[in-house]
Amino acid sequence: MSEEPYLRSRRTLTLRFDIPISKTHEFWDHLRSGKFVTTRCAKCGNVSFPPQSDCPRCMSNQFQWVELGRDATLVTYTHVRTAPASFAGSDPYIIAIGEFPGGLKVLAWLEGVKPDETKPGMKLKVEARTSKEGNPYYVFVRA
C-alpha cells in the first residue's frame, strides 16, 4: 500500500516546569540530606503527601514537619511500557504506591526490581536521588 502524501513538520517541544516551593522548600532541603519528611497540620493533625502548607482536610495554614522514615510497603504498581511522550526515552519503568507506617501513601518510581518480582506487600525503602539538573528526587527500591 503506498503512503498518502503528507506535509510533515517535526519540531521539538521542551517542557519546563517552574514549581513554586517557597512554603515547602524544607522537604527538598531534607531530601538533599537523605531525610524524607512531610507536613502535618498543626490544627487537625492530618498528614499529607506531597507536603502541603494548607491542610486539605481543615484548610488550616499552620503546619509542622514530621519525619516519615524510609520504610514502606508496596500497595500497588503499574509497569509502564508505553510511556507518555516526554518519558519516551526511558526504558520501561514501574510506578508504585508505597504505604508508610501510619497509612500515608506515596507515589514514586520503583527502581531495581523486575516486574515479575514485584508483588504487593513487598517491603520497600525510599531513597533520595539527584536529577541531571541537580534537583533532588525520590524513588522506591526493594528493602
Binding site: 503527601f49 486539605p56 500497595v75 500497588t76 504506591i97 501513601k105 506515596v106 507515589l107
Partner: protein, 170 residues
C-alpha cells in the same frame, strides 16, 4: 440533543425523554490518596445522588451506557453503579448479563472503545444512545425496555470527576 424546559419539550417532541436524576461528584486527582484502586468513589457518590433524585434503584435501570475509556473502567463502572457487587463485574460479562436479554444491557452501541471517544462529545453521544433505546429506536441493538428508565455514566480526568444521569421516557 436538544435540552429544553418541560413545556418546550412537550411542544418540540411527542416522545421527549426526561431527565429524572443527575448526580455529580469529584475526588482527589492524586491516585495515591484514594482509598480504592479498583473503583471510583466519585462515580459511587454521583450515582447515589442520581438514583436518589430519580427515586430509582440500580435494579430499575433497563439499559445503560457507561464510560469504558479503558477495559477496566467498564468493569469498575458496573460495580460503582451498583449493577453488581464488588468483584463480580467480570462474572456479569461472562454470563452475558450485559447483553440484550441479560440483567442489564450495557453499551449496546459498542461503548467508547468500539464506537469512539471524542472527548467532550462522548457524554452527548451516550445520551443520544440511551434516548434512542428508551424510545425503541435503536434497531438491531434495541434493549427490552420494561421500566422506561436508562442511565448514562460519564467520567473525567483521572477518574476524579463523575457524572451520572438517569433518563426516563415517563
Amino acid at each position: 440533543v436538544v435540552l429544553a424546559s418541560e413545556d418546550m419539550a412537550r411542544k418540540l417532541s411527542d416522545t421527549p425523554i426526561w431527565i429524572k436524576g443527575v448526580g455529580c461528584s469529584s475526588d482527589t486527582a492524586n491516585v495515591s490518596r484514594r482509598s480504592d484502586y479498583v473503583g471510583l468513589q466519585a462515580a459511587v457518590d454521583a450515582s447515589k445522588r442520581a438514583y436518589s433524585m430519580a427515586k430509582v434503584t440500580p435494579q430499575d435501570i433497563d439499559v445503560a451506557n457507561v464510560h469504558d475509556c479503558f477495559t477496566i473502567a467498564e468493569l469498575m463502572a458496573y460495580e460503582d453503579l451498583g449493577f453488581c457487587k464488588k468483584g463480580e463485574a467480570a462474572k456479569m460479562i461472562r454470563e452475558g448479563q450485559t447483553e440484550i436479554g441479560g440483567k442489564i444491557p450495557i453499551n449496546l452501541d459498542g461503548g467508547l472503545k468500539a464506537k469512539g471517544h471524542p472527548v467532550g462529545a462522548t457524554g452527548v453521544s451516550m445520551t443520544v444512545e440511551i434516548t434512542k433505546q428508551l424510545r425503541g429506536e435503536a434497531g438491531r441493538r434495541q434493549a427490552p425496555i420494561k421500566n422506561g428508565v436508562g442511565l448514562v455514566h460519564n467520567i473525567g480526568g483521572t477518574g476524579h470527576y463523575a457524572y451520572v444521569t438517569v433518563l426516563s421516557r415517563n
